[in-house]
């Protein structure tokens, strides 16, 4: 069964450092999402790509977060500098591009900022 791949699974960093997460969606999935899940809350959308274009980044803190999907396949989410409040699970999901909204999630990257 095809899966969404994410790395690293766990990342511990000190505040003010840079951190990056990588996601490889299911092959052929045109739409890619990055969600952030803070402990005790549901996932919140950070950014949505359609192929290589950003569709929605309205909730992305652009002063410190950036995301790219240069060739419309895999994607990188970067945080620089990391802050204590960024500690969370970062989830990547993909969708074939249809309008039904069913997402396929990766296992996530858990970030701890000290």
């Amino acid at each position: 069964e095809a899966e969404v791949a994410q790395s690293p699974r766990y990342k511990i960093t000190e505040k003010s450092q840079a951190v990056a997460f990588w996601c490889d969606p299911i092959s052929g999935h045109a739409t890619l999402y990055w969600y952030r899940q803070i402990l005790g809350q549901g996932p919140e959308l950070l950014v949505q790509f359609q192929d290589e274009s950003v569709v929605d980044d309205s909730q992305l803190p652009k002063d410190r977060f950036s995301a790219e999907r240069l060739k419309g396949v895999d994607s990188t989410l970067k945080i620089q500098p990391a802050e204590l409040g960024d500690s969370a699970m970062y989830l990547c999901a993909s969708n074939p591009g249809g309008a039904d909204g069913e997402l396929f999630f990766g296992e996530g990257s858990r970030l701890t900022v000290l």
């Binding site: 969404v4 005790g40 809350q41 959308l45 989830l91 039904d100 909204g101 999630f105 296992e107």
Partner: protein, 114 residues
């Protein structure tokens, strides 16, 4: 603001008890509705979905959900829970006017006592 509300954050049940988890959303118009489950240590996975037609939908592992449009609700049910149903359950809505993205509720942690 558009939102998804899950009524209970923690639920504890004994095996064989019946389960109902509430979910309400605030969108008008056409919506697609989902329940996702996250078992301990695993990624989010789809439990069931509603797009159109019969408002009573059946998912995996004996779960079902009923869409009541007049109440903006999509409650999850299972007649008899098992210890293996211990997990966190998320209701999610794709409001077509919202750009084909899922908005999640805060989640309900279900613990089933054996």
């Amino acid at each position: 603001a558009q939102s998804v509300s899950q009524h209970n954050h923690h639920v504890i049940l004994s095996e064989a008890a019946s389960l109902e988890l509430g979910c309400n959303y605030s969108y008008g118009g056409t919506v697609n509705l989902f329940w996702y489950v996250q078992y301990p240590g695993q990624h989010l996975q789809l439990l069931l979905k509603y797009f159109s037609g019969d408002p009573l939908v059946k998912g995996i592992k004996g779960f079902e959900a009923e869409f009541i449009k007049s109440k903006f609700s999509f409650n999850l049910r299972k007649p008899s829970v098992q210890w293996s149903d211990t997990a966190e359950y998320f209701c999610a809505v794709n409001a077509h006017l919202g750009g084909n993205k899922l908005v999640f509720g805060a989640g309900t942690i279900l613990r089933v006592k054996s």
